[in-house]
Symmetry: C2
Subunit: 334 residues, 2 copies
């Protein structure tokens, strides 16, 4: 019960050429506006294209020439707003430059990443965009052998294969620690999600712990939620953490979602923020600017990351690492 019976096989360039009474290469030249042809010919061709409803077949076009103009994104998640933001930044640039975005989601699993990179490479993309620097040996080997551009996103703490665009998570962790210390907090806790899978969150945690340790105020306690990040696990995580360590004066969350959960817990339980407990997040989501007290956090250039990455790819820029930095937002919760 397919619908195929409704349809003629798609119109081909040869049929357009026939209908317009010109050669195939002429049609091809007109459609790509490449090479020379008379106005009269162009009109005839365009008329036939219009009349037959011709849509060029890029599969064939790509095979015959070079460059698929496909950009593959292999991202860990779509729940974490970071990645839709990156896609958003990239997609504008890609569309302006007649590229298409293909994506798949690894769910933070390196094995899936490997399989998905292989599947993506089968499309001979112009570039593959990945999150971070941690990839399996085989993934790296495939990417190197593929000949397509590779962009590693959202991280700077590691060695880039080709292009990298992002900011240092480790430095962000340190900056957060220094801010909290400067404000006088000394008993600092951590509420986060799965650190091993989300290696960037892991690096922030490392930066935080390191800076706190160096200042003689090591992390007091931590509560780690096994799954992904969410507002709910932030709230729950804080509740559990406080049940164990009542005398914390600040909590660093693995990101703003988690931090908002923590903030809501405080609102609901009459814990005064920041006087009783300070809250600090990461990402600088818009929502954090509109909460009754603006969230103290680090704003990351997620959309810009996608945009710059796409720009480097479409301009075929030489290998380089672009540090987009981050901005500490003082907010009112810490």
């Amino acid at each position: 019960m397919t619908l195929d019976f409704r349809h003629h096989p798609a119109v081909t360039l040869a049929e357009v050429a026939e209908a317009a009474g010109v050669g195939e290469s002429t049609v091809s030249r007109v459609l790509r506006d490449h090479g020379s042809f008379s106005n009269k010919t162009r009109d005839r061709v365009m008329e036939a294209v219009e009349r037959l409803g011709y849509v060029p077949n890029r599969i064939a076009g790509t095979l015959a020439s070079a460059g698929s103009r496909l950009v593959a994104f292999v991202i860990p998640s779509l729940s974490n707003i970071v990645f839709p933001d990156v896609l958003r930044g990239a997609s504008t640039v890609l569309e302006e430059n007649q590229h298409q975005a293909v994506f798949s989601v690894t769910d933070y699993d390196p094995e899936r990443e490997e399989a998905l990179v292989a599947a993506m490479l089968a499309w001979r993309p112009t570039a593959v965009m990945l999150a971070g620097f941690e990839h399996s040996e085989r993934t790296l080997k495939m990417l190197r052998a593929s000949g397509c551009r590779v962009v590693e996103l959202l991280d700077l703490d590691g060695t880039a294969l080709d292009l990298a665009v992002g900011y240092s998570n480790r430095a962000a962790g340190r900056a957060s620690a220094e801010f909290l210390l400067k404000r006088g907090y000394r008993r600092i806790g951590y509420v986060g999600h799965d650190l091993d899978r989300d290696t960037r969150a892991g690096k922030r945690f490392a930066g935080l712990s390191e800076a706190l340790g160096a200042a003689g105020a090591p992390l007091t306690d931590r509560e780690i939620h096994a799954g992904g990040s969410s507002v709910e696990s932030g709230r729950l995580g804080l509740e559990r953490l406080l049940a164990r360590s009542r005398d914390l004066d600040a909590v660093y969350f693995s990101n703003d979602d988690m931090a908002l959960g923590g903030y809501f817990h405080c609102l609901a339980h009459g814990i005064s923020v920041p006087s009783q407990l300070a809250i600090f997040g990461y990402n600088g989501l818009d929502i954090g600017r509109v909460t009754p007290q603006p969230l103290s956090t680090i704003r990351t250039p997620r959309v810009a990351t996608g945009r710059i990455a796409a720009e480097l790819v479409v301009t075929n820029a030489p290998p380089q690492v672009v540090d987009l930095g981050f901005e500490l937002v003082e907010g009112a919760t810490a």
Copy 2:
């Protein structure tokens, strides 16, 4: 300054055949596990594949056979969480079935939609997924002529081209109105974003107004933000609305983002919810369950929409409309 000098042109199937000492068709059969071949041959082929680092070229494969196994998403936005959610639901199913997702973003602009659909069709996708039923004449014509499956998502109020998966926005608007009326609210306001562009939000608004009108408690006032939806414009919108109409007892927001903004405005200004002002949203975001008072809203099956849509496509189901319904969440804000 490209990197091309690093690379041999990619390994081809012919080279693998040569290296394994078998024919091309044999390699093809082994790799696709289709047709028959001896174990010895399979091992020889796989060894050569491994050794040469061969990655099949799907561009060529698709051209030679049929079915790109590409599914194109032409979505209005990535900022509105609805669409990442749909993509998330679909991508799991697609990956399990060896399909790839391609997407582009229209920014709610029908002309861009038209151009992007054309660009997508050039890849001869298995299916094109679109938001809603409102498309330009030319878009519809192209889709009909393309011969690929078309899935219209997240709406039910209109005529489907082929497949449709979603829920009735109009009914959701009505249900919200009925709930608010049942709770005794009579002076109801609306805060929303651009209704003309987001036609689904427009249909919810229509359903709401209609039901309120029918019950003899027509909408009291409304405040429309010209751009997209956001927490911030929700907050601002409510502030403006209240400045004009002080005696509202409930406000319906075009979605949960907007509603959260409104809720935060109330929290920040000591407006007691719901006794002084009730707040009602749409979408049923997770965050709304964790706010100090759970948000009253309508939970929509966004991820399921993506999942079901993908399932219909990979199983090549006959044309049909799937109503996934929605669920009214009473919450504590209305």
